[in-house]
Symmetry: C2
Subunit: 181 residues, 2 copies
DNA sequence: GTCTATAGTGGGATAGAC
DNA sequence: GTCTATCCCACTATAGAC
């Protein structure tokens, strides 16, 4: 499904890459390891992908697509609200921590990615913040901060993160449309 | 100043490490590069530090100390408020982006760090949120999210980040003590 | 405390035969 | 499309001479 169905080998490589990423983390995703997982030697991978980055791009694009799917499904299921979005966001990240990290750490290779891919994932937040772009960006930063600090084990051991999420989302929800200060 | 004044060579190594980190980023900080910067061969560094992590620990501790210093100075200068803290936080990160990244990306090697070092940097936020730990954590996540997304160039080109900061800080300030939903 | 030499590991990627 | 062989790179870290 990722990339072209005409090339089953390439698709299998992407599937294997995703499995390695989720199971062992980003450093485990090497061309040698990937070849092994798919049953060929590392150099043969280059018949299917120009370089390692090309494989990573496919993973990234799939990740953003899945994130957008999650948001849209959550809206249908639980109604369109900031709380719904926050829940879906956190669930997404906790279900695929390594993919989430890959999607959000460092620069994004936008030059090599499908141009619409980020926008579709961002659209639900725009809806729910009613066009208040400042609150939208603040809420995005909040959600990303909560998730990445949780994944990286930065909160104190007993911290009630549900409560922190609630407090944050409530604060933003109460301030939509007030335009800053 | 970092570590022991009795060992000037070790101090010089730390200074060089900090310079390399800030100037060229975390991947540039290798033992070879560090030896070169300080005028000795890489293996000789191991007479001064047990391993590479030991050098990094010193940088991390110094970073948290500086962050705490920044907060305390900002409180004295501009008064104790969430807005003051947010400004100081953002300034800190933008002034030392690579150090900030190193301090906040991935797991923290807490076992090898001074135990009080995180707590001192966190204290000002506790003060300003008046003991509402949920709002405190949410505000921390917001600030980190804003900063790291800015450093990693994730916001749209023309985005007004001052406005996003204001909107976020105002939302939190208005909700201190309300205890979530 | 510094050196040279080197071990040991890992990575991405290419050439050319089949 | 896959293979073997290989290049070239980079890294952390140790041994042992000086």
């Amino acid at each position: 499904m990722a990339e072209s169905p005409i090339r089953p080998r390439a698709a299998a490589i992407v599937v294997a890459a995703r499995e390695i990423l989720e199971a062992e983390g980003i450093e485990a995703l090497t061309m040698r390891r990937l070849g092994e997982a798919v049953g060929i030697r590392a150099p043969s991978l280059y018949r299917h992908f120009a370089d390692k980055a090309a494989v990573e791009i496919v993973l990234l694009e799939a990740g953003f697509d899945e994130l957008a799917d999650s948001f849209e499904a959550a809206f249908e299921r639980d109604g369109e609200s900031l709380a719904t979005l926050g829940q879906a966001f956190r669930d997404f990240a906790r279900t695929r921590p390594h993919l989430y990290r890959m999607m959000t750490t460092g620069r994004l290779p936008r030059e090599r990615m499908r141009p619409d891919v980020e926008a579709r994932a961002a659209a639900p937040l725009m809806r729910v913040t009613g066009g208040d772009e400042h609150i939208a960006r603040a809420a995005w930063a909040f959600a990303h901060g909560m998730v990445i600090l949780e994944l990286d084990d930065r909160f104190p051991p007993g911290a009630d993160l549900d409560a922190a999420w609630s407090a944050g989302l409530a604060a933003f929800a109460a301030n939509i449309g007030r335009g800053g200060v």
